[in-house]
Amino acid sequence: MRDASHAGRRAAVARALVHVTLAGASLATVFPLVWMLAAAFTPNDLILARPFRLWPESPTLANFAAAADAYPIWRWLWNSIVAAAAVTAGKLALSLPAAYAFARGRHRWRDAAFGFVIVTMAFPTVMVIVPTYLVVVRLGALDSLPALIVPSIPYIGFYVFFFRQAMKALPSEMFEAASIDGAGFLRQFVDIALPNVAHVVPALAAFAFLGAWNIFLWGQLTLGSVETKTLTVGVALFSDIEGAQSLWGPLMAVNCLAILPVLVAFLLARRSIERAFASR
């Protein structure tokens, strides 16, 4: 009896310690973002006067208005959504059929092709940036969203790998039954494979969306004019070196705007992420 209560007390102390540790880690992690949020809603001229605040003084939306005045930030938001959605759609459209064929297809080059595709997981993005850039320049495609979108799609190694695993894990009886009912190889992709991996697609879509949303270096190279920029690239325009302008408030306001849509995407995909990366 005494042992049990002793163990219970120990467990309670352990739980309390876990809470303290996690709370401390959470506070430290989220602090810069809370600071950013507070700055975004604080009048610009007060921001530098006092560096430390966790809550806006005289809260205002003026920074958002000022940012929208200086640059087409709503246009940037739209560009970001278009680019991220297009890259996501492109990755899914390339990787789902390929993953199915790698999982269930028959071809003597199948496994070699699979290796060829998934090895690209290891390619650092900057490694191909110089030749790709030179080609984009030669094509005269600079300064357009397609220049940002198209070269960003083929980083599909992980997606192909993941979907292939998910499709291989499906019982072959399902496919055989469909085959007996007269469904061909392609029909089985649409009727059996796709619906049965649909629950993990949002998870990967969310990661693809996040990756594309945050494309920064490549965006800096390809998106020159103000109208074609995405939010994450446009943010850089708030630092005017020669004039020493301090648009801190509007900058932080745009930063908030840049986080919101991906936050929503991840909240929507949360259940799917948990299922996608559960240990099977």
């Binding site: 876990v18 540790t21 996690l22 709370a23 880690a25 959470s26 992690t29 989220v30 810069p32 973002l33 950013m36 430390f52 459209a93 990787s95 059929p97 064929a101 790698f102 297809g105 071809h107 003597r108 595709v117 090895v119 690209t120 997981m121 290891a122 390619f123 650092p124 900057v126 490694m127 191909v128 940036i129 110089v130 030749p131 850039y133 030179l134 070269p151 799609i153 083929p154 599909i156 061909g184 190889f185 392609l186 996040l210 949303w213 270096l217 994450t232 708030f238 801190w248 932080m252 930063n255 840049a258 986080i259 991840f266 992420i273 948990e274 996608a276 990366f277 559960a278 240990s279 099977r280």
Partner: protein
């Protein structure tokens, strides 16, 4: 045409777009890098000149390359273990208190920075780190501690870059670990507890083996992202400085190619980088994957 032929044709058809896209946008540029490495190319005039080994000599002869290679190693040695183990510890903690009302709050806070882009991370961290009157120094001073020069201090800069890179990316591995741990049957853990297994033994004997496919996946992807993602952080925080103290090979490539327009030199660095990545990948699959137990 019989069924087998049709299936082979369909297989090829479904795979072709992916293979072609990868070949055209990832393999071809690398092949082109091999060519650019021995050329002197002027983009404005679009003239090529055979440069022989001049680009290779220029890269290997400078101090920056050695420094960047060394830093690449240091970043990997510091960040890969940190990015794998700290999220594991946090995920284990989150599992311990799963069901409590604050658990989702911790989860959300810890994951939040992962959503932030490099440009935003830079815009947020630079004023915090300002060595003269930044928020962090104000806090240190208030606590009676000496202020730091952070990313402008040649000795501290690499660690500051590592810290911000860690801050921005660890949430991803946390999500992966957490998802894997939460699906390990409670009964198995309970049984081990009754057998007298302590916390660390339970983690070692039950959690890690059962989550080993996820663990392997995390290890492999973390090595790649550590090489790659840090480029954005270096760009917004230090630009590789002070005097190349924070640069790594991918950043040096970026700087030589797209800041200095020495495409040949950049291509040499690209080839060295791909060789390193290829070796790392081979080592991981050769020595680590054998320990993975696929369920």
């Amino acid at each position: 045409m019989d069924a087998a032929d049709r299936r082979a044709l369909s297989t090829a058809g479904l795979v072709a777009p992916a293979v072609l896209a990868v070949a055209a946008f990832l393999y071809l540029p690398i092949a082109a890098s091999g060519l650019l490495a021995v050329l002197d190319y002027h983009p404005a005039t679009q003239t090529f000149r055979f440069a022989g080994l001049a680009n290779i000599a220029a890269v290997l002869g400078g101090d920056a390359f050695g420094r960047a290679a060394w830093n690449t190693l240091v970043y990997c040695l510091v960040l890969v273990p940190a990015q794998v183990l700290v999220p594991l510890a946090l995920a284990l903690g989150l599992r311990e208190i799963a069901g409590s009302r604050t658990a989702p709050v911790y989860y959300a806070c810890l994951f939040a920075p992962t959503l932030v882009s490099f440009s935003v991370a830079g815009a947020v961290w630079l004023p915090l780190l300002n060595p003269i009157n930044g928020v962090l120094n104000e806090m240190l001073t208030a606590l009676g501690l000496p202020p730091s020069r952070w990313h402008t201090d040649a000795r501290a800069a690499l660690w500051v870059v590592s810290l911000v890179a860690f801050w921005k990316t660890f949430g991803l591995n946390l999500v992966l670990w957490y998802a894997a741990l939460m699906t390990i049957p409670k009964e198995q853990i309970e049984a081990a507890r009754i057998d007298g297994a302590g916390f660390f033994r339970r983690v070692r004997d039950i959690d890690i083996p059962l989550a080993s496919p996820t663990a392997f996946f995390i290890l492999v992807t973390t090595v790649f992202t550590t090489l790659d993602d840090i480029v954005g952080i270096i760009d917004v925080l230090t630009g590789g400085g002070p005097f190349e103290r924070t640069t790594n090979l991918p950043y040096l490539l970026w700087q030589r190619g797209l800041v200095f327009f020495q495409f040949g030199q950049a291509s040499v660095i690209a080839l060295v980088t791909i060789a390193i990545v290829a070796i790392l990948t081979w080592v991981q699959f050769r020595f680590v994957e054998r320990r993975v137990t696929y369920a």
